[in-house]
Amino acid sequence: MNLHYLYLVSFLIIILPSFIILFYLGHKRLSKYWHVPLYVGGIGFIFAASEGIAFNWQLWADNEKYILPYRFLNAQIETYLLNFLLFTAIACSTVIMVKRKPRPLYTRRR
């Protein structure tokens, strides 16, 4: 395997199975509120950029052998994908748990 993909592959191995479990457990609830994890995932991109700008990733001494040679605003491309997927996964888990309750707070009563 090309070692440049090691960082990317290492987090995909953890995150992708968790997405499969989340969709298996809550696909009905997620199909009604699919836009919420996407909004939160979008904020993950801003978060990744903030890491890049604040730390100038060279200072984190990332090993160039294990990452792809693409950066945007000093953050690696993988960091954007990682943050998007991580934010989306936590948001999916939250949506599933919040909408599990029979009567959540702030819903209109008929």
Binding site: Y7, V40, M97, V98
Partner: protein, 138 residues
């Protein structure tokens, strides 16, 4: 080159710190000064501040779903294991100059506070708030 300089920095890291400022050389041998509290400052700006705002304005709503914060916090344990693995295999590292210097296993204490607690709390709180305003899509 960057890797080699970072190795030197890590080996001698604490020795470089003078008056809470770490002196570091990047791949083009350019001298960079960095506060040893820069990770904490970043935490304060990008995690603690939004969390405080959300807590102040949506306290009642967030308290109602307190158990979800605990469950999501437990899920992130897998992320911390991955983070430790990556640091142990030198996929990435945390130079001594950018954090206060206390470590548990391979990670600095700030990483546990950021990734394990504050990060999860912020994303969960954000999702609950967005969810309270969102309508069902058909």
């Amino acid at each position: 080159m960057q890797y080699l300089t970072s190795q030197v920095f890590l080996l001698e890291g604490r020795g470089f710190i003078k008056n809470k400022i770490a002196i570091y050389f990047d791949c083009s041998n350019k001298k960079i000064k960095m506060l040893s509290y820069s990770y904490l400052v970043w935490l304060l700006i990008f995690l603690v501040t939004p969390l405080l705002f959300m807590w102040v304005f949506y306290q009642k709503l967030l308290r109602h779903y307190a158990h979800i914060f605990v469950v999501n916090g437990l899920l992130v344990v897998f992320g911390l294991i991955w983070d430790n693995w990556g640091t142990a295999h030198r996929l990435w590292s945390f130079p001594s100059g950018s954090n206060v210097g206390y470590r548990f296993l391979y990670l600095p204490i700030e990483e546990y506070i950021a990734f394990g607690v504050l990060f999860t709390f912020m994303v969960t709180a954000l999702t609950i708030i967005i969810l309270s305003y969102s309508k069902v899509t058909k």
